[in-house]
């Protein structure tokens, strides 16, 4: 058992740092052309533009340690923005369950960041109980296309998306998990209506999406009809690991401490106040432990395969840590915590913190609410059942 990086790992870290350093955005450089060339250069490094993809599909085929190093370095570097929907959510499903034709059709555009995807899972009546979804897809008599009707909710960036990957119901005669079909279709077409939902932080990221008689060719179906739940479920576990965001939290915690040190209190600063300091300390201790829980989970994935139910612990702990960082940011703002948005008053450290905190409440709700995550741990890890098992 050892935690030191070996010389190869250290060399890899150096290579990553050098790459980030050499490809930083320059003063006055156009953001989008920089972004495009960044991904191009990352690709030339041998799949660094798609670090999580397997080597078979053009990824770098890194070891868990290399992935961990990459995560740590990316949290600190100012990389071009990227969206997870195509790259991290749909791509693994295409790779595992899509036909070769579908892989050839969709993966290149995902890799080139040419097509923006959104995820059509949750519905007004299907939140934590996702399998309860009701959006109907009916196969035409000649078997060439589906007609989709229904509504999705909490669809992140649906208003910017070109395509959606969508869970639909094709059969409601059996148990809920059966009869779900996984379809892909363009967002910009007749019969699709996107409406914004404004969240507490005052921003528009999520939407409701309504489908009225949307036609989807049968070749846009992933795998078999009625097996969509199986395909989506593996992906949910991926999503949950990703949601922990620990590397980012480590960086944010350091930023929080720096900020607190700039807030003068008497002869010292906010970090000298016992109550504040102890909360920051408790948070950091939890983060140190969770970071290693993540490493252990990575290591077991390296020797086994899919991340298992232990990913539920990571989502629980990781999202709670993110919320606590936001809460401490609000507390650091002091009397300025109530000033709203850019128009708000006070020193620069106080701006935006409260909006961030309010939106962070979502972290313990999306991707499976914390209560549901704990049910999973109770059942799958501890082997517990209840008389009123739900």
């Amino acid at each position: 058992m050892h935690v030191e990086l070996n010389s190869e790992d250290l060399a890899f870290r150096e290579e990553v740092r050098t790459f980030f350093e050499e490809n930083k955005i320059k003063d006055g450089e156009d953001y989008f052309s920089w972004r495009e060339s960044w991904f191009k250069k990352a690709r030339e490094k041998g799949g660094w533009d798609v670090p999580k993809w397997p080597a078979k599909f053009g990824g770098p085929g890194w070891s868990p340690t290399q992935h961990y190093i990459w995560e740590q370095e990316t949290a600190r570097a100012n990389l071009p923005f990227d969206l997870p929907f195509g790259l991290g959510m749909l791509a693994p499903i295409l790779m595992n369950y899509g036909s070769e034709e579908q892989q050839e059709r969709f993966l290149p555009d995902i890799r080139d960041r040419k097509v923006n995807w959104c995820q059509g899972y949750s519905e007004p009546g299907a939140g934590s109980d996702l399998a309860n979804l009701k959006t109907k897809a009916v196969l035409s008599e000649d078997g060439t296309y589906y007609t989709v009707n229904g509504s999705k909710i909490w669809t992140t960036l649906a208003h910017m998306a070109d395509w959606i990957f969508c869970l639909t119901r094709t059969d409601d005669s059996g148990i809920k998990q059966q009869g779900i079909t996984f379809l892909l279709f363009p967002m910009k077409q007749e019969g699709i209506e996107v409406k914004p939902i404004i969240t507490l932080g005052g921003s528009h990221t999520v939407n409701t999406v309504h489908f009225t008689d949307v036609k989807v060719p049968v070749e846009n179906r992933i795998g078999e009809e009625g097996k969509g739940w199986t395909y989506a479920k593996g992906l949910l576990e991926h999503e949950r690991t990703g949601l922990a965001g620990l590397s980012k939290s480590l960086v944010e915690l350091e930023q929080l401490k720096d900020k607190a040190r700039t807030i003068q209190r008497g002869n010292g600063n906010l970090m000298d106040e016992a109550s504040y300091r102890s909360k920051v300390g408790e948070l950091e201790i939890d983060l140190l432990a969770t970071e290693f829980t993540e490493l252990r989970s990575l290591a077991s994935a390296a020797s086994g395969g899919e991340p298992g139910p232990e990913s539920s612990i990571l989502k629980l702990k990781g999202t709670e840590i993110k919320q606590r960082i936001q809460k401490l940011t609000v507390e650091a703002s002091g009397i300025y915590a109530s000033a709203w948005g850019d128009k708000g008053a006070g020193p620069s450290f106080a701006k935006g913190g409260t909006a961030g905190y309010l939106n962070s409440r979502y972290f313990t709700i999306y991707g499976g609410a914390s209560e549901v995550q704990k049910d999973i741990v109770a059942k799958k890890v501890l082997g517990l059942t209840t008389g009123k098992s739900k």
């Binding site: 949750s122 009546g125 939140g127 934590s128 109980d129 309860n132 909710i153 909490w154 939902i197 404004i198 969240t199 507490l200 005052g202 999520v206 807030i263 003068q264 209190r265 008497g266 106040e273 016992a274 109550s275 504040y276 809460k327 609000v330 507390e331 703002s333 002091g334 009397i335 300025y336 915590a337 109530s338 000033a339 709203w340 948005g341 128009k343 708000g344 008053a345 006070g346 020193p347 409260t354 905190y357 309010l358 939106n359 409440r361 979502y362 313990t364 709700i365 999306y366 609410a369 914390s370 209560e371 704990k374 009123k388 739900k390």
Partner: protein, 375 residues
């Protein structure tokens, strides 16, 4: 021991409750908040006509001779609708300072107009560096013949946009953090040298940063004695804490009740959410926090009415608990409402924001725990 309200107080409680129910649904509140001046002039006038603005003033001052218990009755009901009208800024802060330290002439010219809703007064006490320490005052007032000249900057002044007069907390002697050497002045909001930068707050109210540049004020506008203003400020801040805590208790009641109702309606996994024991227990915790806050609110208010100095420690205890429990109840309500709780569409989120703001005003829960344990 008697926790019963008087007949008059019960009547007022019912009439405020009805007012809030009839006028403060979410849609109306959002509309009022988004349009200038951020509250309804019509409601403000109605509140004056119903006598609510004068409850806590003596009869000589043009009021009805009530005390902090009457304010509690009002504010708790206001909290159930997140009432936007500037009661705290005018009646508790501005009016509270003048009531305690104003000369007979000032009281006579200000208080009846304030109580009738014809004039607005707020209090400018916080500063950028002061955080929650009310004795940390850098804004200086320099004596110049029969005038004082004020220079400095005040932060997060509530409702200053609509104020005709401002009670401003200044330093006339001593070092920046001394309790001695603080003086309060009543100034015209339109005086030469006053600049207001107005902005909305997280809870849909309004506040301002105010810069004072060589603002002249006659020495007759002193509120209380020169250098001895701290005691007045502390008493006014304590009243504000009681009032805000009452509002918070009203808001927490809405949050826990709405959550109980929502979980009984919303079905997941073929059951109402309220069937799940883990959610039941969380709601029991919310309910317990609400009841405990209400108990401590009553205790701190009744002790303040008896002896405000002895009550100081309980007031710190109250603001600590309100901050901590308010955020717990708010976060729990959002969590149990799921995604809907994080949107602007349900009133839950708006109540949560108000509780968050209340924790950041007049000292947050950490600050008051520290004060409580050091007294």
């Amino acid at each position: 021991m008697n926790f019963e309200l008087s007949e008059e107080q019960k009547m007022i409680q019912q009439s405020v409750e009805r007012f809030v129910q009839e006028n403060y649904d979410l849609t109306n509140r959002v509309k009022i908040s988004s349009e200038d001046p951020g509250y309804s002039q019509e409601y403000w006038t109605a509140m004056a006509e119903l006598g609510w603005l004068g409850l806590a003033f003596s009869e000589e001052e043009g009021g009805f001779g009530g005390n902090q218990i009457d304010t509690l009755v009002l504010m708790e009901q206001f909290g159930k609708g997140l009432v936007l009208e500037p009661f705290l800024a005018n009646i508790v802060l501005g009016g509270g300072a003048i009531k305690r330290g104003g000369s007979p002439a000032i009281k006579e010219s200000i208080l009846p107009n304030l109580i009738e809703g014809n004039l607005q007064v707020t209090l400018a006490y916080a500063e950028e560096q002061s955080r929650f320490d009310i004795e940390d005052v850098a804004t200086a007032a320099r004596e110049d013949g029969s005038n004082f000249i004020i220079n400095g900057k005040k932060s997060m002044v509530l409702n200053a946009e609509s104020a005709d007069k401002i009670v401003v907390v200044t330093r006339t002697s001593g070092s920046q953090v001394d309790e001695d050497g603080i003086s309060l002045f009543l100034v015209d909001a339109t005086s030469k040298g006053i600049e207001r930068e107005n902005f909305p707050t997280v809870d849909g109210l309004r506040a301002s940063e105010i810069t004072f540049t060589d603002v002249e004020v006659p020495s007759g506008n002193l509120i209380g004695e020169k250098d001895k203003g701290f005691a007045i400020l502390q008493a006014v801040v304590n009243d504000a804490i009681l009032a805000l805590s009452a509002e918070a208790v009203g808001a927490m009641e809405v949050l826990y009740k709405d959550t109980v109702e929502y979980t009984q309606q919303r079905e997941q996994f073929d059951h109402p959410l309220s069937d799940f024991q883990v959610l039941q227990h969380r709601m029991v915790d919310m309910f317990m926090e609400y009841e405990q806050c209400k108990s401590l609110l009553l205790r701190a208010t009744m002790e303040t009415v008896q002896d405000p100095i002895l009550a100081q420690r309980t007031v710190h205890a109250l603001k600590h608990l309100i901050g901590k429990s308010g955020i717990f109840v708010g976060e729990s309500a959002v969590q149990l409402h799921g995604g809907m709780g994080v949107t602007e569409e349900l009133r839950i989120g708006h109540f949560f924001k108000r509780l968050l703001v209340i924790d950041s005003q007049f000292g947050n829960s950490d600050f008051h725990l520290d004060k409580f344990t050091s007294l």
